[in-house]
Amino acid sequence: MMTDASSTIFQDKIDQDIRIEPKDWMPDAYRKTLIRQISQHAHSEIVGMLPEANWITRAPSLRRKATLIAKVQDEAGHGLYLYSAAETLGISREEMIDQLHSGKAKYSSIFNYPTLTWADMGAIGWLVDGAAIMNQVPLCRASYGPYARAMVRICKEESFHQRQGFEILLTLSRGSEAQRRMCQDAIDRWWWPSVMMFGPNDDASPHTAQSMQWKIKRFTNDELRQRFVDICAEQVKLLGMTIPDDQLRWNEERQHYDFGPIDWEEFRNVINGNGPCNKERLAARVQAHEDGAWVREAALAHAEKKIQYGKTA
């Protein structure tokens, strides 16, 4: 069998930062892990549109409405870039969508929280997109070519998302007493779920070592989480708000912020389908897909008819 030689060549290429392309030989486990990782990420982009779509019709001004629509539209684009990157690994779009709708595939647990006030649009942009960027920037150098290229495109677009979020919070933080309370309340609700976005602690994520060897993960969960906390702990000062963690303080020795324990029980609960909005989110996706079925069929029938009549558009 040539598998041994092949896997040595494969790992050599990765060690030398030579990208793996769709038709290159790759270990089955690499392919499977990537399909799972990329499709989960795609699902997160798509489901992630729902909490924000909730506020489009109620945005406080035309400017806010236009930027929120643009942001949500970007997230749809991110989902599409990632679905097509995953498809190059041999899984079909329908399979992925089925996996999402049947609950077999996961998406980021953060999107199972409700968006209660307009300030949530700010907190999501600042914290949720902020955490996503922290995760995604290193993946621009992921070993799988189509994935890395999709991430480059995504990262270019994300920084506007985070800035528009922070601007929303900044405006509220300079507003009335009620607006300031709303701002703090949104930060209080979104902080811990955002910190959890980086996934389990390193000692509880057994696949990290393999993924790092394959360069489809470039930093550990805890490294990225620490970086996120360090940055936010400074940025929140500009808002004159606080982060809801009484153990958050600068550690001179470590040159990092220390922070309090994470409620992993809650994390597992939400991942396993018991978050405040899991059912609602999935139901909305399934309904959109089913409601769109006749459009997909009609478009296909129309395309076939045009071919029959010999005028390909």
Partner: protein, 96 residues
Amino acid sequence: MEKQHNWPLWEIFIRSRQGLDHKHVGSLHAADSAMAIENARDVYTRRMEGISIWVVESKYVHASNPDEASSFYDPANDKVYRHPTFYDLPDELKHM
């Protein structure tokens, strides 16, 4: 008759500026070429990344085989004389 239910996959190529080649940017699903072009505009040029779009149905793309890459490109390997630097000429020679 069992009909094909899914929109085919298209490869998208975009010319970012006048004077540059169309470059592959990714793929998407669409029922026909007109829809593929419109979807490509929405998916790949939201920030004026392009002024021209080509779409090709993926099944029509034929590719060289990466497993044969070494033998396939081998003939070009030992022909350094195809490059101008191969030729020994005095420094005094100008405009060449």
